[in-house]
Amino acid sequence: MSVLLVPLLPLLLGWIPLVLGRRGHVTTAWSAGLVAAASFAILLGVHAPAVFAGEVAFAWVRWAPSLGLDLAFRMDGLAFLFCLLVLGIGLLVILYAYFYLGDTKYHARFYAFLLVFMGAMLGVVTSEHMIGLVVFWEITSVSSFLLVGFNNDTEAARRGARRALGVTGLGGLCLLGGVIVIGHLVDSFELSVWIAQRSVIVANAWYPAGLVLILLGAFTKSAQMPFHFWLPGAMSAPTPASAYLHSATMVKAGVFLLVRLSPALGDTSLWFFIVVPVGLVTMMVAAYIAMFQHDIKGLLAYSTISHLGLITALFGISEPLAIVAGLLHIINHATFKASLFMAAGIVDHEVHTRDLRELGGLRRLMPVTTVLASIAAAAMAGVPLLNGFLSKEMAFQETLGLSRLGEMQWVAPFVVTLGGIFSVAYSLRFAWEAFFAEPKVQREHPPHDPPRWMQAPVFVLVGLCVVVGVMPAVAVGGLLEVVATSVLGDRMPEYHLAIYHGVNTALFMSIMAFAVGGLIFSWRRRVLDWQGGGILEPTAANAYHNFFGRVIRIGRVVTHQLHDHSLSRYSAVLFSLLLVVGSSPFWPHEARDALVLRTTTALQAAPVAFCSLLAFGAIATLVFHRRRIWALLFMGVSGLASALLFADYSAPDLALTQISVEFGTTVLILLALYYLPWKTPREPRAPARTMHAVIAVLCGTGIAALTYGVLTRPLESISDFYVATSKTHGGGTNIVNVILVDYRGTDTLGEITVLAIAALSITGMLSGFRARRPTVDSAGRAWSPDTHPHLLAVMARPLLSLVLLVAVFVLLRGHNLPGGGFIAALMTAVALILQFLANGYGFARARLRFDFVKVVAIGLALALFTGLGSLLFGQPFLTSNYGYFPIPLVGDVELATAMLFDLGVYLTVVGVIMIMAIRLGRIGGVEDAEPEPELVPAPAEPGEAG
């Protein structure tokens, strides 16, 4: 299980530096170093022996196996090599960063990010479960985003970070996709299974799709063209981060993925013809661009891209020896490139510039740095006796005689040689112009070598370059053997690491490279002038930038066009959708005959009349809708007509309700209209009237067709049940009412809740709201000052008690005859409102002193508890019960629990309507009313005069 610890230790202990943040830089640096060291110790102490013994250790973390999500780790040669790089260089970087960051404020944050990245990177290289690999892969992207954007006060850093995240994030998405695809081909996400099932995968029709997606992941991470542009942008990261992420580790994740999967997916012609060209082109072009970089970090970045291209190409070739060469070059590149970045950081740190055009003459001022940097640069150029040479030789050798290229075999070596030439040139330029050339600018504070410990990491790495270069077999032979075996298994080739392989094509190629490279370097002035600034601005970056510019612009346009918050447009969309989708079942021909005529009844006089009235009212409303009072009246006509229809089609309850609601609504709208404009003017912007008309007509037709279609069907419904049980079990003869309070009582409970909420919201909306009360009507006539006719006032008071009596009667009989809580409530409300109209607000309010909100609440509670009551008798919610009770004078009255429920309904509805009426009635208040004249003393109301 200790395999887990290697990645998880840094990942899960990443917060430690943050906690120690206040203790100062030394502490945070040490904490980070110790965490890394612990992981490193486990790696060397526990795993090194096993790995060199050729064993593979596994460890599992069950995350969500049933979803196919798991974290599985393996420690084999390849994983070991990368852990070595990540942790070894990681430790050096922490040491280096301590000096580089100096007294920056956010050091704790830096180490935290660094540790998280380290852990994620270790996770990537040790993953056995491919989804787990994706998880860690993405974490590296995020942590690199944070590291690149570390100095986020500069726009360059911010953009660099965003691009790095964007491009590598895209890669991560593709990788996830590819992993899922391949995983489904072999029904497993485990690497070993993939390797074992290679033949199955490669044979499948979806292999290309999966491969391409996975390769996209690898290429973006390893900055292969055309995705390379994020890496130079990421150079705005603090140099330790660049040295770590962008030379030694993260960018290697891509090539790691290639070599890791090559046994499973590699060595097909598809693989070859995608990977090799990309690698070769990247190698050559990036090296060429590198020659013209003035920023030394930029130069190193492009050099990194170029070397990664070479490695990619080698893994694309996927001959055993090519893979060995690639692995060796990974080691070598990590060492010399990391040290070069650190050197560049030292220069930047001491001289405060990274521009080759301003640098120079550091040889005298910073001798030690000069020596180290020059050796590293030489290794980068591939000078013999340095590690760069070995792997480059092998690489050159492997590009020869690629059978897959057929006639075009010469291309690969040619391109590689070109790349070599350029790299020699830029290495020379780097070393020469920074250190050996005459200083271009004189500084009053001459820079000097940094403290010894800051150079120590560079020293170690450069030392490695030399050691490997001089005695390869001893230094890396064993390691390389193990690593290569873990990748190639039984395909392990015969090879021997030596400084000199005798005269062969590869040697000739290197000599070419040095000769021409030197030539170009000596002509660099002319070359620079000739090249100008053209290629230096990578076009891919612009493409990316423009792409997002376009996305955002399109987004703006589309969003602005769509979301114009015009209700009419939104509803037009809705209705159109209804028409299209709703009609779709009738598109096929055979479906049309669903509308054939079936049972129909003959026309009857009354309904025909009512229907005509209904339609007339609607049309008139439409015609007069600009003259609002008229429209309102005609609408009332329609409402009345529908009430008549209800009555005629044997639904008395409905008719009663419809009429009373009609009354309520009309009064309400009239009240509102009092404060609204009285006419609807023609719109200045002509709205799409015709289109709306078409939609409207079609909708009408649709509804009509639907109605007709339904009405002409024979119906066998569940209604007989109610007829059968309403009296016997529901205790009422008014089936509709029994349904409302018993069978479907929950609906009614909900319905009164809706009323209550409406009342609450309305009070909320109107609280503290005053509208100016118009003094004249639409025709300009002044409103009559006599608000409360005396006659009415006198009549209204006795009327109240009478109406209340009737209401109670209607309420009680509701269970058996038309009526019920709702209608009774409406009657009561009307009577009460009448008091207000007749006697004025103050008078009435002074006599109706209770808060109707409470009435509503009590009503709701009553209904609810009636329902809950049945629970006490072990019966479900709203189970009704009934019995007969003798009441003097009235005789036997049947009382059902349902009636309690109906009483609740009654109270709620009364309360709600009173709230609305009072609130609305008081909007106008009086011109000179104070802000909150609630419960004003009666005299405030002009009505009292009358």
Partner: protein
């Protein structure tokens, strides 16, 4: 017979009633906003209700964990003649999720928000009542009623705090939904007119045996119903109302609304397999057909438009609104497949997005309150006072929302991709859309973050009004974030539950059998009265 189901509705209703009476009697007739004195009382009441509801919800989850379906016959009438509540894994999950979210919403509303108007807690409780009812009912018309409750409660909450922007945003929202309600009635009417029943299970039974000549009519009704649900779920092209509406609401309400779109989607997966399976899926579930031919493009369009909108959003809150739309798209993609895997993905993503986006709304509000006059506008501005906490929260929530591992969004996206892979007809379109949109939203997300937290000037002391951010204001956001993290950490149990839920949702026969046939001994011998 377990009364938990009815308590899920009764508890919030009762709480609401008590809270309203308390507030009304403490503040008297009419004041603009609740007084502190009233608030302390009402808040206490509300908390009791919330915790009780949460307990009920957990109880329900436990009860159906084994996979059985509890049928509660309101009024003790046999099906299909009266209303039934049906509790299965899905409804239990929905109620649990909602009540959990509500706790954090109440927490977030504490302080300045709830004092902006009256009856906040009453409305909140009634909203919860409507939601629970909608999740539990097994009767189509009763679903309509509960939809009305939760809608009008949401109107009240949306307008809470007043202001012209809320008014005009509210009007659009309300009118569209009222049209939707009318449509709902038309659909229900048609179904009753042809099949003569309202019970979802019974509809399923009778629809399966419907006269072929009636089938097109029934299909139309079913599709109309789905459109109503899609309108509430904000599926393109009828999603237009959402951004402004949610953007206008006060932060806690916006956070609560993160669940509102999910109600519509829930209604789709609840009704379609059980009631309309035989109608809409002649070749069986999972195949492309009359419904998916509309739903799938709609979901894809939603995802694309939402991503574009997010890219163009001028402010953080608007941005989150479009993230909500995007989540609708993702969930829609999962549900739209009508396969076990698709439903699993949809369910997981639904829970994840509800929690994460609710937290995001609260975060957006915190940011706005700390950036002075700039509010949440996405332009370089002053460094917020609590920059560290805010940026950490943003990083995590953004990563979760955009689907970066190892957070819940990643799991959800992964599940959708896997589910889509199983269906050749859906595979490529869904994959391409998801990869493209996630890429764009990732970049956009990084832009937003870098503008808000990196591209900052000097620290400006924010004007200390009652909206000044205190430490405790972070609490609900942290809490929701913790839940999201748990969703990822406990992906195994959550995933299993989602999977079981998906299978149960698609198993229409069991559902119908449980609703229609299990007669519990009722004191009234009604069987003879049955059909």
């Amino acid at each position: 017979m377990s009364h938990l189901l009815v308590f899920a509705v009764a508890v919030p209703m009762l709480t609401a009633v008590v809270a309203i009476v308390a507030e009304a009697s403490l503040d008297g007739g009419e004041v603009r906003a609740s007084s502190p004195r009233a608030l302390t009382t009402v808040r206490a009441i509300s908390w009791v209700g919330l915790l009780a509801l949460l307990a009920v919800a957990i109880g329900m989850v436990v009860q159906v964990e084994g996979g059985d379906i509890v049928v509660y016959r309101l009024g003790n009438w046999p099906s299909p003649f009266a209303i039934v509540f049906v509790l299965d894994r899905m409804s239990a999950l929905m109620v649990a999720m909602t009540s959990l979210l509500a706790v954090f919403v109440a927490l977030a509303a504490r302080g300045p928000f709830e004092a902006q108007g009256r009856y906040f807690h009453g409305l909140l409780q009634l909203q919860l009542m409507g939601l629970s009812g909608a999740f539990l009912t097994g009767d189509l018309f009763n679903l309509f009623v509960f939809f009305e409750i939760l809608l009008i409660a949401s109107y009240g909450l949306l307008l809470f705090g007043g202001g012209t922007e809320r008014l005009s945003a509210g009007f659009t929202y309300i009118l569209l939904n009222l049209v939707g309600s009318g449509l709902f009635l038309v659909a229900v009417g048609t179904l009753y007119g042809v099949l003569g029943t309202l019970n979802m299970a019974d509809i399923g039974v009778r629809a399966a045996a419907a006269d072929p000549a009636d089938v097109p009519l029934l299909r139309t009704a079913a599709l109309l119903l789905v459109i109503v649900f899609a309108l509430k779920g904000a599926v393109a092209p009828i999603h237009l109302w959402l951004p402004k509406t949610y953007g206008a609401a006060i932060a806690p309400v916006a956070a609560l609304f993160a669940v509102m779109t999910k109600v519509g989607l829930y209604a789709i997966v609840r009704t379609v397999p059980v009631s309309f399976g035989p109608l809409l899926f002649p070749e069986g579930l999972g195949a492309t057909n009359l419904l998916t031919q509309w739903l799938m493009p709609g979901a894809l369009l939603t995802l694309v438009l939402a991503t574009l909108g997010a890219a163009a959003a001028p402010g953080l809150k608007q941005f989150v609104c479009f993230l909500v739309l995007a989540s609708v798209g993702m969930v829609g993609l999962g549900f739209g497949l009508f396969t076990p895997a698709g439903f699993t993905a949809g369910i997981y993503y639904m829970v994840h997005s509800t929690i994460v986006l609710a937290a995001f709304f609260l975060l957006a509000d915190l940011v706005a309150r700390e950036r002075g006059p700039l509010r949440d506008r996405l332009t370089a501005g002053p460094q917020p006072e609590h920059a560290r906490e805010l940026s950490v929260l943003f990083l995590l929530l953004a990563a979760a929302a955009v689907g970066l591992p190892p957070l819940s969004g990643f799991i959800g996206k992964y599940l959708v991709l896997v589910a889509a892979w199983e269906l050749p007809w859906a595979r490529s379109q869904i994959w391409i859309t998801i990869i493209a949109t996630s890429f764009v939203s990732l970049v956009v997300m990084s832009r937003v973050g870098s503008v808000l937290f990196w591209n900052v000037g000097v620290v400006e002391p924010p004007e200390s009004d009652e909206f000044a951010v205190q430490r405790r204001d972070f609490l609900p956001t942290y809490g929701l974030l913790a839940v999201a993290v748990l969703l990822a950490a406990l992906a195994e149990p959550v995933g299993r539950y989602a999977e079981a839920t998906a299978l149960q949702l698609l198993d229409r026969d069991t559902y119908i059998d449980r609703v229609m046939n299990d007669r519990e001994p009722t004191p009234r011998a009604l069987e003879e009265a049955g059909r």
